[in-house]
Structures are given as C-alpha cells and as structure tokens.
Symmetry: C4
Subunit: 215 residues, 4 copies
C-alpha cells in the first residue's frame, strides 16, 4: 500500500508541476496508508515535484520516524498531522500557485477570502448548490512550525466547514477523505482563485456590465 | 460504435483537462451513437476528465437507462437531451473554463454576450465571414435540472442561430453535427472568450499608440 | 521530400496547438519542396492542427493543383504564394493567437505596431541588435482572397524589412528561408506580442517605475 | 560526464521550452564538468531549446575552444564564465520569459527589483525565512559582450547575496552549485516575477475586500 501511495503521489507531482503549482521544490503531498496506528506516505523535503521518484516518498509514523524511502520528511509534516487529526483526512495536498500566493497576500488582512455563487463549488465535499458560500481562512506565514501548526489547528476548529486554508504569501492546503478527493479540491480551489483574481482585474475596466456593445 | 465513442470522449477529456477547461470533475461530454431510437455515450457523474477511462463512459437511452459502463449519468444529462432534440446535434460538450466563468458572470445581467468581427468566428458551423455577429445567450444557473433544462430549451428556441450557450458562473455548452465539430466549437468559443476578456482589460490602459480612438 | 515536409508540418501543428496558437482548425502552414517549378506542401482546409495527419498535407503546384494528400488547399493559399514570391520564402506559417488577435485589433487604426528594444528581436533574420525597431504592418481582414492577397503583397513591398504581418482580428503571417527559421519567427513574434500586451496593462498601475518598494 | 551533462541540458531545454521561457532559440544553459582546468558543457548558439539534441551541447574549455559537439558556443559564453568565476557556480541558466522581460523593462531605471515576504524565497540557496529580502539587480542590455560581461561581473561583486541578475528587456541569469539547484533557482525566480507582476496589476483595482488598506 505504501508502494501504491508513492506511485500515486509521483503522478500528482508531475500533474501539478505541469500547471506551475509546485515549482522549485515547493509543495508537499501526503496520503494515509493506515489510520491506526497512523502511517503516512509523504513527499520528502526539498525534492523536485516534476521529477518525483517513488524512493523520495517517505513512509512515516506519527512520531515522524521514517520506515521507508530516502531523505527527511518536510518540516511542514506537522501541518499534515494537524489536518489529518482534526478533519479525519485521508490525504493532504499543499500547492504553491501564483494565484493562491497573490490572493493570500492581498486578502491577508481580512483573515480570509469568501467565494460564492460558482457552480464549481459543488465539487467540494458536501456542497450541494452553487449558492454555497465558502470561506477560505488565511493564516499568517510563520517559520516556527510548532506555532504555525497550532495556528492552523485552531483555525480549522474555528472554521469547521472550510475545505481549504491559505498560508499568507505561501500557498494552499486542502485535503480529502481520499487522495482523489484531495486532488479534486486542489483543482477546484485553484480554479476559483484564478477566476476571482481575473474577475476583479476585469471589472476595473469601468463598470461591471455592458461591454457587450463594444466587443 | 459506443466503444469508439467512449475512446474519443476519453481523448477529449485529456485534451481539455490539459487546458484547464474541465478541472475538478467539472464538465461533461456526449455523442449520439444512434439517433432513433436515441442512444447516447455520455461521461459518468463526478469523474476526473484528465484520467477518463472508457468504463466511465455510459451508454444510455432517452430514458437515462444505462446499457453499458459503470456509474451514473450526470444530472446535467437533461441539458444534453434538450440540445440534441432542439438542434439535431450529434455531440454536446460542456466546459468550465476561467474565461467562460468570468464573462458569464460579468455579462449575466445583459442576458448574453455579443462577439463580432473576428476571423475565428468563421469556424462556427455556417458562418462565412468575420463580419458575423454571434450572440451567446447567458442563462442563470439553477440546481433544479428540470427547470434549467426548460430554460435552456426555450433560450435555444429564442436564439436559433446561437452556436453556444453560457450558464452563469458555470460554463459553456456547445454542440455539433459531429464530435469533431463540437470540439471545434469549444476551441473557437473559448478562444474568443479569452480574447474578449483580455482585450477589455487591455483597453482600460487609456490609449497608447492610438488605442483611445478605436474603443 | 513532400513526405518529410508533411511530417515536419504535423509536428509543428501539435507544437503550436499545445500553445493555443491554432485552435479550432485555425492557422495554416506551408513549406516549399521545389522552388522552380514551384511545389508546395501545405495544410489542407479545415483540419485540426492538434491532430494533423500527413495525409492532410497537400502537395500542390503554383496553380493550386493537388498532386498528393487528401482535401482542398486553404482559401488562404493565395497569401502563401504572395509571400513566397515577394520574400523568396522557403516556408510560411500563419497562427491565430489571443495576443496577436488582441493587438491587431487594438492597433489596427495605426496600420501597424512598433516593437523595439528587446533582445528577442535578434532572433529575427538579419537583426543584429536589440536596438532594432521592427514595424509589424496590420492589414484589414477581408473575405475576398484575391483582394486580400493583393493588399498583403503591396504591404510587403511597402515594408521590405518586415518579418511578419498581422491581419486585423485574424492573426499573424510570418515566413523564413527554412521551416526552422519560420518557426523561430513565429515564436519570437508571439513572445513579443504577449510581452507588449502585458507590459501595457502592467504600466497602467500608475507610473512606469518605482513599485520596487511595495513588493 | 560531458555526455551526462549534455543529456541533462537537453531535458532542461524541453522543460523550459514547454513553459515558454526559451522560445525562438533564446536562452542558454551550461554546467561545469571539471572545475580545474575548467571544462564546461554549454548549449550551442542559435539552437531550438525545445528540440535540443546532445550533439548541440558543446564541451569547451576556458578559452572557448570546442572539444566536442557541433556548432559554436553562444556569444554569451563570457557571461557564463563571469558567473562561474565570481560565484563558484557549477551551473548557469539563462531564460527569456515574458514576465522577466516585462519587469526588467519596467524596473530598469530603479537598477533592480526587491522581492520580499514570500515563502518561495526559501528555495533560494542559504535563505532560511520568508522574511528575506532579495534584491535582483537589473543591468542594461548591451551587444558588446566584453563590456556586458564586465558589467555583469561588477554587479555580482556589488551584490554578493544576489541569486540572480536581470538583463534589461532580455531575461534572467541564475546559477547554482549543481544543475538541479540552478533549475530550482530559475523556477523560483520566474514564479516570483509572475506573482509580483500579477499582484501589481491586481492591486490597481482600487480596493474590494479590504485590499486598499494593505497596499
């Protein structure tokens, strides 16, 4: 099962790297291979996600001991544990796209970002209508991982309905019951970030409606 | 013929997913394999379009009974039937791009979007000159599929020349006599949406090099 | 030699389609396989450039008679002849990108577009320094191909140093002594169009310089 | 070792070409195969980086004598030598992206560009926190390679902490102890240029959702 998980994470690495979401060794991915006692397959620290090899996926337990694979688990492993514990997630994915960085920066002082009215929201687990309002909390970035993990944990508790969380000027964390669901959540949230970012720029043109006549 | 249709729809899934037009299980595709009695090959509900397998393409009849493939037909199958019936279409494609979402949102109150003067319009079935004016109707999104199908149907009747229709904050439906024609219509309309969206933003610049006078 | 030319044009089709430069059967490509009497390998009319097959490349003479391949030569074949005759070109490529469409539209009343100061200009045949000023003429679009070919011809004569020409709201024509040179010219001009388009939008931010301090 | 280096540079060519960072024969790459006496594997002049073949990678010494491969070393080889000598680099990469061209142009009069506060900065060699402030010097472009190499050299000396350098309206030079590190630096800096460029445009919108107060 760790072997299968490792192959799946490598495929996700190539897929997300092609979109520019995990450039320069950024991003990290994990999938739970045994819930109790916890065993996690997680990308090693500082590896190129566009050329991931299965040996770079580590099989770790909940004390971060490495049982398989080469290298060290990411310093951000604590965030993965926090999300798995509080959401019962089966997989956690972290991307680092241009649009998530831009929005997490520009909306950082608001403490989050509201997304509503989009059909695409229905792809988020449990959402049944485009009239859903999704609040994506934004947490300030921090190099103290213990403190950041605590902050992420308490943010998850304060926003029990959130499907993702942004670290400011850093990127997106989302999760799912399965790896496929976590991939779907990444694609949906990244799509919505790009849509919101471009729409705001588009609307500065001078009024929300009525360009039909000049195009 | 369903086998051939399924393989073709899988290839379209990979192609559109690579462009970011069907992220997160969004979008759905169908092709008529027998016009009478109607048999349709259609993507199953909630499947990853970037990794479509032929077993995820359903062979259905006009009562939505599944004769082949695994899973359930999309809730939006009713929209496919509506388009096939009113346009005599041989294939229906639905994408969910950033630009179609943006324009369907910003121009929703206008009830549609005019596109004219582009050479690319000549790729739409029956259009012979770039001087053509294409009106793309925009229909409000709705989770009641019966009501939405009725609204799409009456919109198609009111705009007999339209080659596509936008659902607000949701995406594009287009069609063709063949699957190849439907693919061509998707590429043309998505291209034009991006061009119109970027042009409007560009023109707000205020007029270097004589742009002021022609906007 | 036509077989080799056909394979090369198919590869270019996939390459340009991947970048979104020849969506929806737009664009066409030709390469001279014999200068005298002229024999040209050219893409057939209305074919998908992302899935070009060698049988869709036509071997034609200077009267447009087809000696090999299936289908009809593009109506725009006359423009290819015009460019080959006046520039002595060995290959002609026509793309249909978002940025070339946008700029050919917004700058159409100026009759052209100046590009200067970019290192990338040095990749154009005969250009030795970034201080070069390239004038890209813009010709109004026209469905009368004989008249359009005449207009393109006279524009080429009036601008003997031009490496490309834009058809308004239509796209780019460029050429080269060889197919490789024509591909290089496409990539350079498309790059410069995107750069110019984005730079103009960027600069509306309010002043050309001085954002260093807030980023 | 030159054979291995050549294969690695070809793979980088395809990877960067796919992203549009080395269009139209732009860009060049080198890797040190022996530090003393210096032997360098470097891309030949005027080759298509999207279709690089190992025979187009030249094995040269510090007098630019070619010991293997076909073609001539790039005129910009002098810049590679300068960077290798002053930074002790094991690899040097030069890209030519839209965003680096745009920013090197718009910020040219400032003499450089500051980037700070981004998590992605931590991927740069020796950077431990997102609170790092990276100054990317911008050097005016010049066709006199000896003079340009001298200017690049003195700029490197004045900014001993810089991880990259922009040539105005020309592109990015970065480097690393290894080829993998240089690739990582390219991806990080290109990501940050795009992020900064889009963020500046986004912020001109004027302040929805609390953007006004933090800009």
């Amino acid at each position: 099962m760790p072997a299968e998980a490792a192959a799946a994470l490598c495929a996700i690495g190539r897929r997300f790297h092609a979109r520019g979401w995990v450039l320069g060794t950024s991003g990290n991915f994990s999938v739970v291979t045994c819930p109790d006692p916890l065993r996690l397959s997680i990308t090693g620290s500082s590896v190129d996600k566009g050329a991931l090899e299965t040996s770079q996926i580590l099989d770790i337990d909940d004390s971060c001991r490495v049982h398989g694979g080469f290298g060290n688990p990411s310093a951000e492993t604590l965030l993965h544990f926090e999300i798995i514990r509080r959401r019962g997630a089966g997989a956690v994915l972290h991307t680092h796209s241009v649009w998530s960085t831009l929005l997490s920066d520009s909306h950082g002082l608001d403490g989050g970002l509201a997304i509503e009215g989009y059909e695409m929201l229905k792809g988020l687990d449990g959402v049944r209508t485009h009239e859903h309002r999704e609040w994506v909390p934004i947490v300030p970035n921090d190099q103290d991982m213990t403190r950041l993990a605590r902050e992420v944990g308490s943010t998850l508790d304060r926003h029990p309905d959130a499907h993702g969380i942004l670290l400011q000027r850093h990127g997106l964390y989302t999760w799912g019951a399965s790896l496929a669901e976590a991939v779907r959540h990444i694609e949906i949230l990244e799509f919505l970030f790009e849509t919101i970012g471009r729409t705001a720029t588009y609307r500065t043109r001078g009024g929300q409606h009525g360009i039909a006549q000049d195009s």
